[in-house]
């Protein structure tokens, strides 16, 4: 199977390590993995702002770039949701792009969905010493139903114990431009998340969406928490980068 990795613009710019971890995990699954060079952003920021024409432009570019592969894997529930649920809506009345959007949507998986869906799930022998707590990001959870998959994968990592925090399904307050435009509200929401994380007594908070993770990490550090690690599940599963 030829798999396209859709890196996402946030991982590209803000934490490339997540992209390389995803790459290692997918290669370990025994598939041919390609990083299509013409990808940029799925267009969600434009869509979220309510600018449909711009969102459609970037959706067309993304569809054209990714549609030649057997599967598309995305290390973000939010971007995967944009491709899976929003693209078909954007082109619902378009006789050309409608079917192409639907075909791509049907082949697109969020990373934990894809890995957990493999029989048997092939993983490099990950190891993580410590207690982690998992934050369910909204789009992946309520849009794509991702809940059990990352937990199941983390459960296979040696030395890792999972402790659920209170209200793990509650939003962290990121919301894209929301975090910038409504900073006071966002800060209040992420404060509640930070309190839940602290109460869970975990060494690391793990999630599947970099936006949420940057928000949580940024607020934890600003509050003076220098020790709780904030990691994408791909980083935990793939372990340290081989040197």
């Amino acid at each position: 199977m030829r798999i396209a990795l859709f890196v996402t613009c946030l991982v590209d710019l803000m934490r490339p390590a997540v992209g390389f971890a995803a790459l290692r995990l997918l290669e370990a699954s025994g598939n041919e993995v390609v990083v299509p060079p013409g990808q940029t952003c799925c267009g969600q920021p434009a869509w979220s702002a309510g600018n449909r024409p711009l969102a459609e432009d970037l959706a067309r570019q993304t569809i054209a770039e990714l549609e030649a592969y057997d599967a598309v894997v995305v290390p973000s529930g939010s971007c995967a949701e944009q491709i899976r649920l929003t693209y078909p809506k954007l082109f619902a009345d378009d006789p050309v792009w409608g079917p192409r959007a639907q075909a791509l949507a049907a082949r697109t998986r969020e990373l934990s969905e894809f890995l957990a869906g493999q029989e048997p799930p092939l993983l490099p022998p990950g190891e993580f010493a410590g207690r982690v707590t998992y934050h369910d990001s909204c789009k992946g959870l309520r849009g794509l139903g991702i809940k059990a998959q990352p937990r199941a994968l983390l459960g296979r990592v040696r030395g890792l114990s999972l402790t659920e925090m209170a209200d793990c399904e509650e939003c962290c307050g990121f919301g894209g431009a929301f975090a910038e435009n409504y900073a006071d509200i966002s800060a209040r929401i992420v404060d509640r998340k930070c309190e839940s994380i602290a109460a869970a007594g975990a060494d690391a908070v793990v999630g599947g969406d970099l936006g949420c993770l940057l928000n949580i990490e940024g607020r934890l550090r600003r509050r003076g928490d220098e020790t709780t690690r904030v990691l994408h599940f791909a980083e935990v599963l793939a372990g340290e980068e081989p040197r």
């Binding site: 060079p37 267009g43 979220s48 432009d57 570019q61 209040r188 929401i189 928000n215």
Partner: protein
């Protein structure tokens, strides 16, 4: 449009973001909200889980309830005519109000015709849309709120901050101080064990008002078309006092509240209390039909329905019709991270939370509430819990699109979005610019790889550090590896 102007005139002068700055920093408010949050969501979750078939019945009920509401909204004029005919046949008068000003005129006119000096009220959000209490007082008629929460905020001179828990923003200490001042007694130290005593105190005061009022004003949770009935769903019993003791009963409610049959009402009642307070049924469910008959000993001798448009008719014919399914349970705000960071007053008009973020722009004018559809993280908890499956995030998104189409967004945002999309549409240019951006971010970062103050995202770094990577994008590193 007169409706828009009238409603807009009542929206708050302070901007939403300014409100947010104040509310998120108010420790008393935050304490009250933190206390209420788990109660609301916990009680609802228990009630839903207790439905048969592990909550499967809940999903079926949601379909049924959404279907009932859609059926009404598809032929709203017809159902309203049927309601009007049946209500008149039972001796009620049915009047129609286009906007808040007309509500006030009609209520005051009824009051004058019947020599009313005092009106008791049970909870009505529509009377908030009309600022009815102020209008009554100006006309020399004393309005007395009798729902405990409404009574508290009437004493405080405030507006409700929640549609079913109007005083949820008030702490025990604030209520004690209000009661002491208004009931003419010295202030006492109170613990939460004293809540029943405070409630008894309010009841004692309100009892006198119930007995001396000439008119009762209520809302209606539903209007039942086949019988011309107003249905009231309450917990304190004040609704019954208001609607049966005075000579005159005035029902003020929105035209969208009609449902076809008693059977439909019964179906909706399976979800309303469960979604609102987590009760299987509320303490009181009153079905009020017509005036006191000759062989009856209780009830008003005059019943008036005031059925209000105030922007609703325009919404029926719009892309936003689904919002009119709303049965005012409050579940969307009870599960909203934004609502629980702010409380209801910051939303600027009568309705807070996700349903308010849709209704306020529609009823007061999209250009008058630009923030509300954007003041959402898109977490989808609201639509997840809505008993009538209102797609609240999609409706907010529709309003965002309309703001864009009408050019109502700030210039900087529109330009920035276009510039970003133009670059993102050119992958080679995008690669080059993100390489520079990655280096720039890395250069701004401190020794721990974090940016403390970032001019391009001042909101972000006002509250958070911005963790950055090592100065090279994924694609730059990936290309280098492929070359090796």
């Amino acid at each position: 449009m007169s409706v828009t102007r009238h409603n807009a005139a009542h929206s708050q002068a302070m901007s939403f973001t300014a409100q947010a700055a104040v509310k998120t920093r108010n420790p008393v408010l935050q304490k009250a909200l933190q206390k209420a949050k788990p109660l609301f969501s916990g009680k609802r979750a228990k009630a839903i889980a207790a439905l048969p078939d592990d909550g499967l019945e809940f999903e079926q009920l949601r379909d049924a309830c959404a279907g009932i509401r859609d059926r009404v909204l598809g032929d709203l004029d017809v159902w309203l005519e049927i309601f009007e005919e049946n209500a008149r046949a039972r001796g009620a008068e049915v009047l129609w109000a286009r906007d808040g000003a007309e509500i006030c005129d009609l209520v005051i006119d009824v009051a004058r015709r019947h020599g009313v000096r005092k009106a008791t009220k049970s909870k009505s959000m529509l009377s908030e849309e009309a600022h009815l209490n102020a209008a009554l007082a100006a006309a020399g008629i004393e309005p007395v709120e009798t729902d405990l929460g409404e009574y508290i905020i009437q004493l405080a001179g405030e507006a409700p901050s929640h549609i079913i828990a109007p005083a949820v923003h008030k702490t025990l200490a604030e209520v004690e101080a209000l009661f002491a001042e208004n009931h003419g007694r010295p202030q006492q130290p109170r613990t939460s064990d004293d809540i029943p005593a405070l409630t008894r105190e309010a009841r004692g005061v309100l009892r006198q008002h119930f007995l001396s009022a000439d008119m009762g004003i209520s809302g209606a949770n539903f209007l039942i078309a086949e019988t011309g009935t107003a249905a009231l769903v309450t917990n304190e019993g004040n609704g019954r006092m208001v609607t049966t003791l005075p000579r005159v009963h005035v029902v003020v409610t929105g035209i969208e509240k009609v449902v076809p049959t008693l059977e439909d009402f019964a179906t909706l009642m399976r979800l309303l209390p469960r979604s609102a307070t987590g009760q299987t049924i509320s303490n009181y469910v009153s079905l009020l039909t017509g005036t006191r008959a000759d062989d009856e000993s209780e009830g008003p001798t005059k019943t008036v329905f005031i059925l209000v448009d105030n922007g609703r008719a325009d919404v029926v014919g719009s892309h936003y019709r689904e919002i009119l399914r709303c049965i005012r349970c409050g579940a969307c705000m009870n599960h909203c991270p934004v609502y629980f960071s702010l409380g209801g007053h910051a939303y600027g008009w009568v309705y807070p939370g996700p349903m308010g973020s849709v209704l306020t722009p529609l009823y007061t004018g999209i250009e008058n509430a630009l923030d509300l559809p954007h003041a959402s993280t898109g977490c989808r908890q609201c639509s997840n819990v809505c008993p009538v499956r209102i797609p609240l995030p999609e409706l907010m998104h529709g309003l965002r699109q309309e703001q864009q189409r009408r050019g109502l967004r700030p210039w900087g945002e529109r330009f920035g979005l276009r510039a970003w999309a133009w670059i993102a549409g050119r992958p080679r240019l995008y690669r080059a610019l993100t390489r520079i951006a990655a280096r720039y971010l890395n250069w701004l970062a401190d020794g721990q790889g974090r940016i403390r103050i970032f001019g391009f995202a001042p909101g972000w770094t006002a509250a958070r550090d911005l963790p950055v990577a090592g100065g090279r994008t994924f694609f730059e590193q990936y290309a280098a590896r492929k070359r090796d």
